[in-house]
């Protein structure tokens, strides 16, 4: 269990993170979202004990994160980097051993990963000789080779083609199944939505929403109706709080309060014309994100 307890950090006059709290459960993926400059990287650095919070603390398994535990964590930073002139195999051995594996264990694990990632032919090459995608795979292996109990992935899928995205996703799911706690930071909403059970969105150094993604969606005050756009949509006015937000391609976009009787809405619609499409959806993560994160320059 990773607990982030009310941490704050400022650099000079810039407040990077303010009173941030959340918890990530073992064997699950926690999504950390927010615009660039919101404080995600600073938060990650405090979780990994690279930076010390000004206030508050980060706990792993009930203990404050410190030198005794930090080196067992895995970290795939957004800014990727390998030693360009060091052979792949040596490099992974180095990282694995740096994270506390024995030489034998490290060799064994690297071999397993190389099979899974189809990298065997590149063992003796240097990163400079590899394609970007293969470099990314090596970087990913470097972050997970020691089977960290906590794995921090910052934009893990950037730079991968769709096939490799699936390979990495499979590997991530495997790690979760083994009980790894994963903190995933990404701008790719659909991937976060697909993988994460819990999320926290931060904006301008503060947490704006945090918790179980399903629960957040369920508790959302509105639902979203997509239905055939009829010539006469005036019936909507009979339902309090229902707003048509626009239409495109013959589909009307309608926002309705969560308590609205959708069946009654559908019946009313059918009276006004042929309806061959009608669906009620919970908000997407994008909807939630856009609701909470104010555009740059808007008042906080």
């Amino acid at each position: 269990m990773l607990e982030v307890d009310n941490i704050s950090k400022s650099f000079g006059t810039v407040q990077a993170v303010s009173d941030l709290s959340f918890a990530a459960r073992p064997g699950s993926i926690f999504g950390l979202l927010g615009p660039n400059g919101a404080g995600k990287t600073t938060t990650i650095r405090m979780i990994l004990d690279i930076l010390a919070p000004d206030r508050g603390e980060v706990r792993w398994a009930g203990r404050r994160v410190g030198p005794h535990i930090r080196h067992t964590f895995g970290y795939l930073p957004e800014e990727r980097g390998l030693y360009p002139k060091m052979k792949i195999h040596e490099q992974l051995m180095f990282f694995a051993r740096l994270h506390g594996l024995s030489a034998d264990e490290a060799r064994r694990r690297i071999a397993t990963f190389f099979d899974a990632f189809r990298l065997n032919e590149y063992l003796k090459r240097t990163p400079a000789e590899l394609s970007k995608g293969n470099q990314q795979k090596v970087q990913f292996i470097a972050a997970v080779v020691h089977r960290p109990p906590l794995l921090v992935l910052d934009e893990p899928f950037s730079g991968f083609d769709p096939i490799n995205v699936e390979i990495v996703k499979d590997s991530v799911r495997e790690l979760v199944a083994e009980g790894t706690t994963i903190l995933l930071s990404s701008h790719r909403m659909e991937q976060v939505e697909e993988l994460c059970e819990d999320i926290c969105i931060i904006d301008r150094s503060r947490s704006v929403v945090a918790g179980n993604l399903r629960a957040i969606k369920r508790a959302w005050p509105n639902r979203f109706v997509r239905m055939t756009n009829l010539p006469d949509m005036s019936f909507l006015q009979r339902f309090p709080g229902v707003v048509a937000t626009g239409a495109s391609d013959g589909v009307a976009h309608i926002t309705v309060p969560a308590g609205t009787d959708a069946a009654a809405l559908l019946r009313a619609a059918v009276e006004h014309g042929p309806v061959d499409r009608f669906e009620v959806a919970e908000p997407s993560l994008t909807d939630i994100y856009l609701h909470y994160v104010k555009p740059e320059g808007a008042a906080a």
Binding site: I50, L82, F95
Partner: protein, 427 residues
């Protein structure tokens, strides 16, 4: 294996196998081989200064002849005293040790009436230097004795008595002095090159990890302090490896030179210099173990005091270009130390040299030269080492602070304000 050992071995192993290191070492070895065949270093050094000589003669006429023979190569100061034998007058010795003159030359008449000379250099006299002096004195001896004696005796005059007594009493004969100076000169070059080269390696190593973003992964796993220590020790070990290789080659060359090169060199038969070259092996045996031990000590001190600064500079920059100017600044104290040390070979015990040999950043080179050439009071050596260690501790502390802030900054170099704030932060 501990984290630090892992870091050190990575920094060491990746570099020791790199093409740059191998080529650099080979070039260095070739350079040493080339240098071994150009035995002009001693002569170059001897000509750096003209020595001031206090001259004591048996009578005004002879003194004038000797003075004439020496003028040009030496600054001669004729003394009022008259010599009665080869001994050095006590009050002149005091003046010498006070630094008034570099040396004293006592010209005297032997009981047989022959002109003889006793040379008393304050600093130890080099082989070449004594050879030059001997030739000048030969002239004087012939001129002085020609007026009074038969031609038969001129031949005898060619074998005029000439002794050298080093006042600091460290060396048994002039050959040893020359050998020690040559060796120190060579070791200074080695010290200078390796500190500069490996210091720059350190700052480049830091920059490299920052510019290719490995740093971010590294600091998640290890402390900046460990990273700093790993870098400095790893590259220090690399430097040490190269020095060992160079030293082995140089040692082998000295031995080879002693056997085969000495003969054809243009030195008068029977001269101390010739004797020296004829038997380099036995000369090597006269190099005290302490010189080698001091070389190691001062190399380590020199490397670490500069390496910590180079690492701090590396942490502040984010691109290789940023670091070059700052490196240029750091090299200055080293250049000064090197030049001062060259002077110290000739005048190891002048007060200015004593000061330089105590000041950190200069002391590794200057104190090494002094202990290798002269007899240095132990308290000075101890103080010098202690001050150096204190400076290393301070520099490493400051570098670690810069490192902690600097390693996470990419893209832009730290502003002076940020640097100050980092340095003031608690350790």
């Amino acid at each position: 294996m501990t984290t630090l050992a892992l870091l050190v071995s990575r920094d060491y192993l990746t570099r020791v196998r790199s093409r740059g290191f191998i080529i650099g070492t080979i070039l260095g070895v070739l350079g040493i081989l080339a240098l071994s065949f150009i035995p002009v270093l001693g002569r170059l050094l001897g000509n750096l200064f003209s020595t001031s000589i206090a001259l004591v003669g048996p009578d005004p006429a002879t003194t004038a002849i000797v003075q004439r023979a020496l003028t040009g190569d030496y600054r001669v100061a004729v003394q009022k005293e008259r010599s009665l034998g080869p001994t050095l007058p006590a009050d002149l010795k005091k003046k010498l040790l006070a630094g008034t003159y570099d040396a004293a030359l006592v010209a005297y008449r032997t009981p047989g009436g022959q002109l003889g000379f006793a040379y008393y250099p304050v600093k130890s006299a080099g082989v070449e230097e004594q050879e030059v002096l001997r030739r000048r004195l030969l002239q004087a001896a012939i001129e002085a004795d020609f007026q009074a004696r038969e031609a038969v005796q001129v031949a005898q005059a060619l074998h005029f008595p000439f002794t050298t007594t080093n006042l600091n009493g460290r060396y048994r004969n002039a050959a040893e002095v020359g050998f020690a100076q040559g060796l120190v000169y060579f070791l200074l070059i080695l010290l200078y090159i390796s500190v500069i080269m490996y210091g720059v390696y350190v700052s480049q190593g830091v920059i490299e990890e920052k510019s290719n973003r490995v740093m971010e992964v590294m600091i998640a796993a290890v402390r900046p302090n460990q990273l700093l220590a790993g870098k400095i020790i790893g590259i220090g070990a690399l430097a040490f490896t190269q020095m060992l290789i160079f030293a082995a080659v140089a040692g082998a060359m000295l031995v080879v030179a002693g056997r085969h090169v000495a003969g054809p060199m243009l030195l008068p038969a029977g001269s101390p210099a010739q004797a020296a070259q004829g038997n380099v092996l036995s000369m090597l045996a006269t190099v005290p173990l302490s010189t080698i031990v001091y070389l190691v000590i001062f190399f380590v001190l020199g490397f670490f005091s500069y390496a910590a600064m180079f690492a701090g500079v590396g942490a502040l920059a984010s691109k290789a270009e940023d670091v070059q100017q700052a490196n240029g600044l750091l090299i200055w104290p080293l250049i000064i130390a090197y030049v001062v040390a060259l002077f110290a070979i000739q005048t190891p015990d002048k007060p200015l040299m004593v000061v330089f040999s105590l000041v950190p950043l200069f002391s590794p080179m200057v104190m090494f030269t002094r202990v290798a050439i002269s007899v240095v009071p132990l308290w000075q050596v101890g103080l010098s080492i202690a001050l150096s260690l204190a400076a290393i501790w301070l520099f490493t502390l400051l570098a670690a602070k810069l490192y902690r802030v600097g390693v996470l900054m990419y893209g832009k170099p730290l502003s002076p304000k940020e640097v100050l704030r980092a340095l003031r932060a608690p350790a």
